[in-house]
């Protein structure tokens, strides 16, 4: 199905199942511990051996020699894979560094060997006995130190300039010119990357934890140098990914190589201390923002530049993305610079681009409002735009940022806030409130599905779409139920298998809208086939209550399925609506913090998010996404910081004792409101994504609340107590 004109009324609009806050259909599997996660799939293939990954002890250089003698002697050891014996390997399209290093080492904890043994303990013990001699090379590890030497480049992308930014900024009556930094962050998902691999002749089967099945099948085949159709991959449940599992990574490649070397199935999980440096992370940024405005608060010039680093061949963090679209202003400049750093590979983490970008931009907006003496909510409203500010003839498909801000202000009690800083005291706490806009683009990408109706009236949906804890199973079931006119218990959803039609996958918050749109397309086809099979006119056929009816005749779906059942498959393809219209999601975050007047400890007291993100397919799972994202935003604001050892080139706090993320005690009351919205430009579902929107802007709302509480403006994340102490009142 080609989607190239805005959606009109369709069966989804009935909202009998879609739009309802139903429990997730896979919930019982999870709460009873029976959802099959990759590492625990003991039943899928017998005789599984265990692999333990060895990571490089240096950041850059060369392996002079590896001595496997002692390791081989450990009882139970079956094989040891290194670059020396793995055979020639290719490199996938989506990873920058090779996934099995050696002799060249490209980053710390790059996998350099896999020890395979009968038991996990034997493999780990033997791994400890592998002796590696390295020749270290000089590396570059300090973003700030190379910033000024970064030149414009193709890899960084072209600058975007509209009007005369320099002139307009220089002549603006009110100006802000400030630099912000965001640190490297790790996904820290609950389930570390894990895979089981088994060869059947020259065919490879992999059970893994991965967000993008088709990308990963392709890259695995490419890495191993085998045809793509010889690789099968299953990833039905994923214990969190946040972008860390978008791509083929070392666990999968090494499980495949280990299985080949050992001649039997091999399972591999990365240990927690390996995750930060072996896998991808969100790269650190340095961002300079300049805003010029008239005294009455109209932005006349807005500039945002961002510097980040990555391995040679890697991509920049697109921290300026939202600034091109969020606020009005005739004169604009945005640009990225990219430097080479020999740190582990930087790549997507939940709302890449907008997360660090808004952490900076939305503090800058707060600072500017403060300078202007205008309420920060009003300042944002004043500079709203209903069109792409770089292309005035390109409207937003829907944009209710102002409504989000206003409703949020009302619900949060914003008008009770004291605009002066450091004024509100509650016992030992200095109390402050902050606001930030949320913005995340809505990306559309094709997605296919297969739907089958059987002679019991059961509808089975198959697509390689993944559920990374987001609720994909449930919203897909709701979509099929709505389309075919059955209740949810009559729908079976099977996901995450490369035998199924290729979906959009889970990334960039496109999964919900695109994958359900693909299911919609397949269901449209199925409806036609079912009606025809039942001898009914497909155009008139209505599907409800487990029956298909037209022209006074009605048959049950079970009957219509007719013995063998009926299968339909289709793909949703998107035309150029995304070019004609800017599709984005919007929100407003309101946060109240307390800052301990003596210790400067910062604790969030309450949070509110108001989101405008098209049709909300399931308010319950959508809310879960948003509160989870808000929690991640608190982490980004207050504690998450992968610390670079700039001498040796690695992230030193590579475990969950030293890389802190919020715990329950950090997250008190969270409220989420969704505007009642549909976006017919986005897809037949009229939905958009919310999974990343909920994170966008949270960090800045927290930082702005801290400023309101204390008067201290911190521009370097995370905002920790040591950065506040000097500005705190005497005790």
């Amino acid at each position: 199905m080609k989607f190239d004109t805005p959606a009109t009324t369709n069966p989804i609009d009935q909202l009998k199942v879609v739009g309802k806050p139903v429990d997730r259909i896979d919930g019982p599997l999870k709460t009873t511990g029976t959802a099959p996660y990759a590492y625990e799939r003991h039943d899928v293939v017998p005789n599984q051996a265990y692999g333990h990954v060895i990571g490089s002890a240096i950041a850059k250089g060369r392996i002079a020699s590896i001595d496997l003698t002692d390791a081989r002697r450990v009882p139970g050891v079956l094989a040891i894979v290194t670059a020396d014996n793995a055979g020639k390997l290719g490199k996938g399209d989506y990873n920058t560094a090779t996934l099995l290093g050696g002799p060249e080492v490209e980053h710390y904890h790059q996998a350099i060997a896999l020890v395979v043994a009968e038991s996990f303990e034997q493999a780990r013990a033997a791994a400890g006995l592998v002796r590696v001699d390295y020749v270290r090379a000089e590396g570059v590890f300090d973003l700030a130190a190379i910033k000024d030497g970064m030149e414009p480049s193709e890899a960084a992308g072209a600058d975007s300039e509209v009007g005369d930014f320099a002139g307009a900024f220089a002549s603006a009556p009110v100006q802000l010119d400030a630099t912000y930094t965001t640190p490297d962050q790790t996904h820290a998902m609950m389930e570390p990357p894990a895979s089981i691999a088994a060869w059947r002749g020259d065919r490879l089967i992999v059970w893994t934890s991965n967000q993008m099945i088709d990308w990963t099948v392709g890259d695995l085949a490419k890495t191993l140098g085998i045809p793509k159709d010889r690789v099968t991959l299953a990833s039905p449940f994923i214990g969190g990914g946040f972008g860390g599992k978008l791509f083929l990574r070392a666990d999968t490649v090494l499980a495949a190589l280990g299985a080949r070397a050992a001649g039997r199935p091999v399972k591999v999980a990365l240990t927690r201390p390996m995750v930060a440096n072996n896998t991808t992370h969100r790269p650190a940024t340095i961002q300079r923002i300049r805003i010029g405005a008239t005294p009455d608060g109209r932005i006349t010039a807005i500039g945002h530049e961002s510097w980040s680093g990555n391995l040679e061949g890697g991509k920049p963090e697109n921290a300026i993305q939202q600034t091109r679209l969020l606020y009005a202003g005739a004169n604009r400049l945005t640009g990225k610079r990219l430097g080479v750093l020999d740190l582990p590979e930087g790549n997507a983490m939940r709302a890449p681009g907008e997360t660090p970008g808004l952490m900076a931009l939305e503090i800058a907006m707060d600072e500017m409002a403060h300078k202007l003496g205008i309420d920060p909510v009003e300042f944002r409203i004043l500079n709203d735009t209903q069109v792409d500010p770089e292309k005035a003839n390109r409207p937003f498909s829907q944009r209710q940022l102002v409504e989000c801000l206003r409703l949020g202000a009302d619900k949060f009690g914003w008008n009770k806030r004291d605009r002066r800083t450091g004024q509100t005291r509650d016992g030992r706490w200095l109390v402050g409130q902050g606001v930030a806009a949320a913005f995340r683009n809505n990306q559309v990408t094709e997605s296919a599905a297969r739907v089958r109706l059987d002679n019991q009236g059961i509808v089975t949906v198959e697509t390689d779409m993944t559920d990374i804890g987001t609720g994909s199973y449930t919203i897909i079931a709701q979509t099929a139920a709505e389309m075919i006119g059955v209740t949810l218990d009559k729908v079976v959803v099977r996901l995450g298998d490369s035998n199924f039609p290729v979906s959009a996958g889970s990334g960039g918050q496109w999964g919900a809208n695109c994958s359900t749109a693909g299911v919609y397309a397949a269901c449209v086809k199925l409806r036609e086939a079912v009606a025809r099979n039942a001898g009914l006119n497909p155009v008139e056929a209505a599907f409800s209550d487990g029956r298909v009816s037209a022209a006074g005749r009605s048959v049950t779906l079970a009957e219509a399925a007719d013995g063998a059942g009926i299968v339909a498959e289709d793909v949703i393809e998107f035309g150029d609506l995304a070019k004609k219209y800017q599709q984005s999601t919007f929100g407003a975050h309101y946060v109240e913090v307390g800052v301990d007047v003596a210790t400067a400890e910062i604790r969030v007291r309450r949070m509110l998010a108001v989101c405008a993100a098209g049709r909300i397919l399931n308010p319950k799972s959508a809310r879960s996404q948003v509160i989870g994202a808000m929690t991640m935003g608190v982490g980004a604001a207050l504690m998450e910081d992968l610390v670079v050892d700039k001498r040796h080139g690695f992230f030193i706090n590579h475990d969950l004792a030293s890389y802190e993320v919020p715990v329950h005690a950090d997250i008190p009351s969270q409220e989420v409101i969704f505007l009642d919205e549909t976006d017919p430009i986005s897809s037949p579902m009229k939905a958009k994504g919310v999974g990343e929107l909920g994170l966008c802007g949270v960090g800045a709302a927290v930082a702005n609340a801290i400023h309101n509480a204390t008067g201290v403006r911190v521009r370097d994340y995370p905002v920790t107590l040591d950065k506040l102490l000097a500005g705190m009142p005497e005790v």
């Binding site: 002890a57 240096i58 303990e121 780990r124 013990a125 400890g128 201390p273 030992r428 301990d596 007047v597 003596a598 210790t599 400067a600 400890e601 604790r603 207050l638 504690m639 610390v643 050892d645 001498r647 040796h648 030193i652 706090n653 590579h654 475990d655 004792a657 030293s658 802190e660 919020p662 715990v663 329950h664 005690a665 950090d666 995370p718 920790t720 107590l721 040591d722 102490l725 000097a726 705190m728 005790v731």
Partner: protein, 316 residues
């Protein structure tokens, strides 16, 4: 983790004797620290002596009005003990500020005293660390030091002792009771139990090889208001940036011990004479000679401010 042999000891003296007899032996209590370190091969004992069955988990009154806490008393049980809550509230509060409920259910009194540092370089076996591998060097110096010590450091090590419980015990003048491999018992004042790093940061206590902790004794209650204040980046389940354990008497006199600042629970008795003069004066004495790094210099004002808040709280 390397392979190891395992035995259950039959008595405290026998456990100590077994430890002395077997090279590479270690006691295991709750295992919440030791097992993690073994998995990472930071600790590589060849033999484990399980002391959980030695009936050392009792908490009982001493004849002189104090309390004797068995080495194997779980942190959860100790914090919940009525006598502790009433007479040694500082200890209960410190315990409850540490780790998580699940960990405290397993963690023991002796294991807590002997838990090892949380210096991040100690945890990465690719990095030199004098504490983990004597003589290899200290990676933390010149590296990431935000969490590390500001006082009592040496050129060999700037790590902190991470315990909360031990800080309270230091303020309470606890005594560590032990039995040696020869069967001799002794009582070590807690002030002399943990060592500063000096040139031998791997030697963390004054215990002799094989010596087993059997109990920790608290002297008679000293009264006063007990406040334990742990400062950290997140609200729970984090080690202290600094912590302040204070006992404040009605007349303004009292005691203070600090966590998160040194290789041992930090207390300077002489500085306590300044208690009635307030936090600034006490801190000046407590932290005289501190040598913080650029990254952790904030701990000095933080101690003073936290102590000020603690004193205000105690007096209100």
């Amino acid at each position: 983790m390397r392979s190891f042999t395992y035995e259950r000891a039959s008595s405290p003296a026998e456990a100590a004797a077994a430890a002395a007899r077997t090279s590479g032996a270690k006691f295991i209590a709750g295992g919440t620290n030791l097992l993690d370190l073994m998995k990472l091969e930071i600790e590589t004992p060849t033999h484990l002596i399980d002391v959980n069955g030695l009936a050392l988990d009792r908490i009982e009154a001493t004849p002189d009005g104090g309390l004797r806490v068995g080495a194997l008393a779980r942190n959860t049980d100790l914090a919940a003990d009525g006598r502790v809550r009433r007479d040694y509230a500082l200890l209960a509060r410190a315990l409850l500020a540490g780790a998580s409920g699940q960990l405290r259910n397993k963690a023991t009194t002796a294991g807590n005293l002997l838990q090892r540092t949380r210096c991040p370089y100690f945890y990465d076996t690719n990095q030199p660390c004098n504490k983990r591998e004597p003589g290899s060097g200290c990676s933390a110096i010149g590296g990431f030091t935000r969490q590390l010590a500001v006082i009592g450091t040496s050129g060999a090590c700037i790590a902190t002792h991470p315990s909360d419980m031990a800080v309270a015990m230091r303020a309470l003048d606890a005594t560590v009771e032990t039995v040696s491999p020869e069967g001799a018992t002794r009582a070590i004042p807690i002030a002399e139990f943990h060592r500063l790093p000096g040139d031998t940061p791997h030697v963390e206590t004054t215990l002799a090889p094989g010596e087993l902790i059997t109990a920790v004794t608290l002297p008679r209650p000293v009264g006063g208001t007990h406040v334990y204040r742990k400062v950290r980046d997140r609200a729970s389940y984090a080690f202290a940036l600094v912590s302040v354990a204070a006992i404040v008497q009605r007349d303004g006199s009292g005691r203070v011990a600090l966590g998160g600042v040194a290789h041992k629970p930090w207390r300077v008795e002489a500085a306590e004479a300044d208690m009635p003069r307030g936090a600034k004066a006490v801190t000046a004495g407590l932290l005289a000679g501190a040598q913080p790094t650029h990254e952790n210099a904030f701990k000095l004002p933080l101690v003073e401010r936290t102590l000020a808040a603690v004193l205000t709280e105690a007096r209100s």
